[in-house]
């Protein structure tokens, strides 16, 4: 029995019966209801627009401040710069240090690209194993996989640091992406498992009868089908890695290896209260990759966010 049926039954008994309600009254009401419907819609639009403006204003303000000369930022709340200038971008990009944002962006991508690739590949392999094979101890492994989703990662931080120090990996990108090869983000594996569970294995069985081994089935039959889920995984990992701050903070010590996140933190420490337009210009640029990716692949984001929550 579906949730709907049960609830409508409950509802039927819970609500008072409406005896003797006469039809003409309903007809009379119809006009007023339609009017109230229009007011309702207008009210909804008003709330949504107001909230939307408040939400997006800080972002717009940041972009406009990046084009303003420094003194203008403090004196006008307005968005349109009176004397637009690219000074903020030019000086901000050069920074006060010996490295420019070219270095910091190169570092960011040198960390993110292996992270995204390793996460996608390992998530698909592990999800394929969970979704399609009989495995000894499967229930336990799956329970542990879900537990890693809820485990606060901060409890692992210090021993991981000590371990990577033992490996001699401090001040390198290795501690940041090597764990991704081992499907350490349970959430991503879960996303792909859920997706695979929704796909009937008919095609794979046909391929097996035709003599494919499981690796070939994965490569030629499963991989093309799970692509939407893999794209969601890759997108989320990209965003999260762009935003990652704590891990680079503890693992990287030389400025030449800093990703954008650390460079921005350094910029506010150095240029404190002096060159707002430079810092805001660099913050704007730092958000561009995430925004681009988001707009190119919006649909996958919404699907990904809701995948685990609603159908699970």
């Amino acid at each position: 029995m579906s949730a709907g049926q049960i609830h409508s039954q409950r509802l039927g008994s819970a609500l008072p019966a409406a005896p003797g309600r006469k039809r003409p009254v309903m007809v009379q009401r119809a006009g007023r209801t339609a009017q109230r419907g229009r007011v309702n819609v207008l009210l909804r639009y008003a709330v949504l627009t107001a909230v939307g403006l408040v939400m997006l204003y800080p972002l717009l303000w940041m972009v406009s401040a990046a084009f303003k000369p420094n003194h203008e930022i403090f004196t006008s709340v307005g968005l349109w710069p009176h004397a637009p200038t690219l000074d903020g971008f030019a000086r901000g990009w050069q920074t006060g240090t010996e490295y420019s944002f070219t270095t910091y962006f190169a570092n960011t991508f040198a960390i993110i690209i292996p992270k995204v690739v390793l996460t996608s590949v390992s998530s698909v392999l592990v999800a394929y194993g969970f979704a399609r094979f009989a495995i000894p101890g499967k229930r336990l492994w799956f329970a542990l996989l879900m537990a890693t989703v809820l485990l606060p990662k901060s409890v692992l931080l210090i021993p991981q640091y000590l371990m990577f120090r033992q490996f001699g990996w401090l001040d390198s990108f290795l501690p940041l992406y090597v764990p991704c090869a081992f499907a350490t983000e349970g959430f991503f594996v879960f996303m792909v498992i859920q997706f695979l569970r929704g796909i009937p294995p008919d095609m794979e069985e046909a391929a097996m009868i035709d003599g494919c081994n499981s690796m070939q089935i994965l490569a030629y039959v499963v991989a093309p089908v799970v692509m939407p889920a893999v794209i969601s995984v890759a997108l989320f990992q990209f965003m999260w890695s762009m935003n990652d701050f704590l891990y680079p903070l503890i693992y990287l010590s030389s400025v030449e290896k800093y990703p954008v996140a650390l460079a921005l933190k350094m910029a506010i420490d150095v240029t404190e209260a002096t060159a707002w337009n430079e810092v805001l210009a660099m913050s704007t640029i730092a958000l561009v990759p995430s925004l681009l990716v988001f707009f190119l692949a919006q649909r996958h984001f919404i699907d990904g966010v809701t995948a685990g929550a609603v159908k699970g």
């Binding site: 709340v77 009989a134 931080l157 371990m163 701050f245 988001f294 919404i302």
Partner: protein
């Protein structure tokens, strides 16, 4: 589907290896480290077992008690407000509106960007003495507030940052709302139920699994908040935004007291575990999965 048990094990081998190396081993190590006086600069062999000394020190540590209080205040301000707001907006949005996609996108953008350093930096300027908020207040004739410098307001700025990111919770609520069959609403309307009644007897009960999911995720996340206070306020002023993760970071990587920091991080873990367990345990009283409370069909 396939019977060969070894092949399956090979496919999940990366996960099993990673589980042992990067999760279980560090998880147990940090518990063991919490019973030692280990200092970051020493070789690991130099650590001495000191029993529960770190935990005893923690009980008497005023900084810890303060950080714990700030953390609980932060979590209990952020999570309910964020969920309530996300639910409200999802409810307003769940209507045959034109441009629903546009609004959904606009609201979702902050939650993908909000965790970044760039946004934390922006927040610092938005709430600065002569920043956007105070300029706007000034324009409305309200005197400026020292958001980041006054211990009474600093935590609010961080709560507001995380509230600003209500979009991901909202998207989940919206998807949940859209799975509620419309014939339920029609049936209730025919039976004469008012809007409020429909909300409390149909929408809310059917939404409890999604509320539960969002609640657990937000609690786990909120207890680990680091970027916001570290970048926006640095834990100050007067430690008014000094959340436990900041204290753990300072103890481990600034003062090198790894043993003590490990005790702190295990305490934080136990607190999160307690709240998660409470949430799961209370499920059968308030979460409807299909048929019965707390039971999945």
């Amino acid at each position: 589907m396939y019977e060969n048990r070894i092949t399956g094990l090979l496919y999940i081998a990366p996960f099993l290896l990673g589980l042992v190396m990067f999760t279980l081993f560090p998880f147990v190590s940090s518990l063991l480290l919490s019973f030692t006086d280990y200092q970051l600069q020493d070789p690991v062999s130099a650590a001495h077992a000191i029993g529960l000394e770190n935990y005893r020190q923690m009980v008497g540590d005023r900084t810890f008690r303060h950080a714990l209080g700030v953390t609980l205040l932060y979590v209990f301000a952020t999570v309910p407000l964020k969920l309530a707001f996300a639910l409200f907006i999802a409810f307003v949005l769940n209507f045959k509106l034109r441009a629903i996609g546009l609004f959904r996108t606009a609201y979702y953008i902050p939650s993908i960007l909000g965790g970044s350093v760039a946004i934390a930096v922006l927040w610092r300027y938005v709430f600065a003495g002569d920043g956007l908020i105070n300029q706007a207040l000034g324009a409305a004739g309200i005197s400026a507030v020292n958001w980041l410098g006054d211990p009474a307001y600093a935590l609010t700025t961080i709560v507001l940052l995380r509230l600003w990111q209500f979009g991901s919770a909202m998207v989940v609520f919206l998807a949940g709302l859209q799975t509620i069959p419309t014939d339920l609403y029609e049936a209730a309307t025919v039976d004469g139920a008012g809007k409020a009644r429909i909300f409390f007897t149909i929408t809310l009960p059917l939404l409890t699994p999604v509320i539960f999911f969002n609640f657990v995720m937000q609690i786990v996340q909120a207890f680990q908040e680091f970027n916001g206070p570290y970048i926006i306020t640095g834990g100050g002023p007067l430690k008014s935004t000094y959340l436990l993760p900041l204290m753990i970071y300072d103890e481990a990587f600034k003062y090198f007291n790894v043993g003590y920091a490990s005790a702190l991080s295990w305490t934080l873990f136990l607190i999160v575990a307690l709240f998660t367990a409470l949430a799961f345990g209370s499920q059968r009283y308030w979460v409807f999965y299909g048929g019965e409370r707390g039971e999945r069909t």
